[in-house]
Symmetry: C2
Subunit: 447 residues, 2 copies
């Protein structure tokens, strides 16, 4: 059994994701309103697994999700207050959001196929479904497909690592010719590997028009178009950064992670749906001990299962609520910036710091930047074969003064280093320091 | 957008799950070590999605899960330190734990079937799988089956609402005759509806011996035997309450929710596995930006997906660690009690309070108790038809002084009220108060 000194040892040895020299993965958030919110939430310790279990929990979440959608400039069809079937719900992670979307699209498609072919065995129908994503999408998309037992195709991207309409159109035609039923396309805004952006307008239009073809001779709707903006989504708070989300009004669902870049502590992925009933449906199972006289109310989940339509624990909304209220009070996001309370700095400052790093790297002719720098990630490498960059990575890991990770384009096999501005404490001097460490390592290798 | 006064309104209107007159569902926990742990965890705000992302996170969780298993007296094969393939992992809820088990058993079975029948299409093989549970199991088990797309049969229980070996044996024989492949049996210790206990020894023995029959002519192992002890599991801290878990050494996996009855704030379900690799397998997808030179280390999840083998966020282990250390320091669980720090009371006191309530209810000849009182739940009703108890429930809900919910046995259709000792603040006087409110309502109805 652990003595107290082990806890201290833990605190000393835990990886410091908030150090200004931490440039790996993507940022994760923390802020004092989030900590206060968690304290409140822990003290209340109330479980909102259905509306009746604590009506105020569900209602706070619906209000807050609408508020968040408005702050990001998302289309009205994602709002509860639009009066349609739309609305948002908090999931743990983007992977969980993807899984929900897969399960929703799967069950929706099977229900419609069964209506058209009442003799069809569910597993036979399942075998015909197919979903699409980009070859550069996060591995969690492929994993969600595997968990949902739905076939997925990773489609080729263009030279900017963006999935385009033509690739989707061609894949749909090929699969229809094989008798398969395309049900879902997951587009990514800001891939994990290189922060590439799929063309949501082109993909959304194809998803929308697909069923003018009237495949199956039924009134089935088009493909479900999901947009995963786990990292990049927070940037939509800044109107001047919204270009990358062109066509978002065509999306049937959208998710992003406030825990990445929006001051909310892990875990919090916001999932918005055009038709929430498609997710609610997959969890229908209403035992009597959870029935109540207000069953018309929006139940986030009518059971202690995590997977109704998903909310972990509504009082945790307090955390998000407090953080959002705080950001709003500052008014900074109205000026196109999302503020970091700890440092008084802003998210869009991360973008400027990334551009600063890019300029420093490009000043040395040995290096190249392999993806357009849109937000806080710079993908760079030593020109030439992968081996040189691999050696540079090993040297930097041994050096240990800065922390970053490597990646590789699926399409070209080009290996590169990912430099992410992560910490809210990160300053221009830290960028210059990281650059000097990289140059030192490159010079050492050159000898 | 919400003004600050709305937050205050929320605090005033949120359902108080910790009020001594709250007797609905099952308890949910809160404690000052849990709050301190969350503060620490929020301040560190480090993501442990793989060993390399923060080695100390993963290592704390492995140490803590072993410690927890030992405190509960679980079999050695669930320990990392046993040197086998076993180990524990934190999930959000019991529903999530069930889903993991379904996915693990499904993929394991399909891999083995494919080895025996290389021509088999995955969806055709999937169509042949079948899992079993009790008709009194929580709806989340059925839902997990639905999400995993695996057929499930809810088997009849005996007169004590306990699933017995004979029922499982018969179901397996019936299904094998139909060409189906039984893969999993989920037993419940402490059902949500009435806190009934399945016979784990009988079920475990059948799961274990099933493949002496050598179905499929391969070396496939037996059925996976999972034990869901979401509520009751915490009681295993008290050696004198362990009788209900007889046969637990036959289980291939086990989960319980420390957030229910063990001072840890929501959400925390501890899942232990005899062979963790079967869960790790279902999430295999290792992109390069997550590869590292220490890939032999136990990765709780090698991706930002929630669903690797599942941990939400390793620093949250601090919460559990602090609570557990605190409980240990008190030494109370060694005396057969698990302490509640807020009140100085103990979990086993909840059991005595439930017995006190049972005695009070039974003192009035109009009432009957419909399930043996083992832990903190008393299932009672007015003798006769369901209508009388339904009317009593409506009266109590209108009265609003105490809060409890109703349920119904799946087998007999008998409707009853669930009285749970939930709050750590609950005293004998609160039990007598609740009893007096119920008597008042019954007398009012009798007029």
């Amino acid at each position: 059994l652990l003595p107290a000194s082990s806890l201290l040892k833990f605190l000393l040895k835990v990886t410091n994701w908030h150090h200004p020299n931490f440039h790996a993965y993507y940022p994760t958030a923390s802020s004092y309103p989030a900590i206060l919110g968690d304290m409140l939430s822990d003290a209340i310790a109330c479980i909102g697994f259905s509306w009746i279990a604590s009506p105020a929990c569900t209602e706070l979440e619906t209000v807050m999700m609408d508020w968040l959608a408005k702050a990001l400039g998302l289309p009205d069809h994602f709002l509860f207050s639009s009066g349609g079937r739309g609305g948002g719900v908090i999931q743990g992670t983007a992977s969980e959001a993807s899984l929900m979307v897969f399960l929703g699209a799967r069950n929706d498609a099977i229900a419609k196929l069964q209506a058209a072919e009442p003799q069809g065995e569910p597993c036979e129908l399942l075998a015909r479904l197919v979903a699409y994503t980009s070859e550069e999408a996060h591995s969690s998309v492929e994993r969600a497909a595997k968990l949902a037992f739905v076939r997925i195709r990773s489609l080729k991207t263009d030279e900017k690592h963006s999935l385009r309409g033509d690739a989707l159109k061609q894949a749909i035609a090929e699969d229809r010719a094989k008798g398969l039923v395309p049900i879902l396309c997951i587009a990514t805004l800001g891939t994990t590997s290189s922060c590439a952006f799929d063309n949501v307008r082109e993909l959304g239009q194809i998803c929308e028009t697909y069923f003018s073809v009237n495949f199956l001779g039924s009134n089935r709707e088009g493909l479900w178009c999901h947009v995963d903006a786990a990292y990049a989504g927070s940037a939509l708070l800044c109107p001047e950064l919204r270009n990358f989300a062109d066509g978002i009004e065509l999306a049937d669902s959208f998710n992003f992670n406030p825990h990445k870049w929006m001051l909310v502590t892990f875990d919090c992925s916001a999932l918005f749906l055009r038709d929430a009933s498609k997710i609610v449906e997959i969890f229908s199972a209403d035992p009597i001990y959870l029935k109540h006289e207000f069953t018309g109310q929006p139940d986030y989940r009518v059971n202690t299962g995590k997977f109704r339509w998903g909310v972990d624990s509504a009082p945790e909304d307090l955390v998000r609520h407090e953080v959002l209220r705080h950001q709003r009070a500052s008014g900074l996001h109205k000026k196109g910036e999302f503020e970091d309370q700890q440092s008084g700095k802003t998210g869009s400052k991360h973008v400027s710091l990334a551009k600063e790093f890019e300029a420093l790297i490009l000043a040395d002719g040995r290096f190249e930047v392999v993806e357009e720098v849109t937000l806080g990630l710079v993908c760079f490498r030593l020109k030439g074969t992968n081996e040189a960059t691999e050696a540079l990575y090993r040297t930097l890991r041994e050096d240990q003064r800065i922390h970053l990770v490597a990646s590789k384009f699926h399409s070209s096999g080009v290996y590169f280093l990912r430099f992410v501005v992560c910490s809210s404490q990160c300053e221009s001097k830290d960028i210059r320091f990281a650059h000097s460490v990289i140059m030192e390592a490159a010079n050492k290798l050159a000898k």
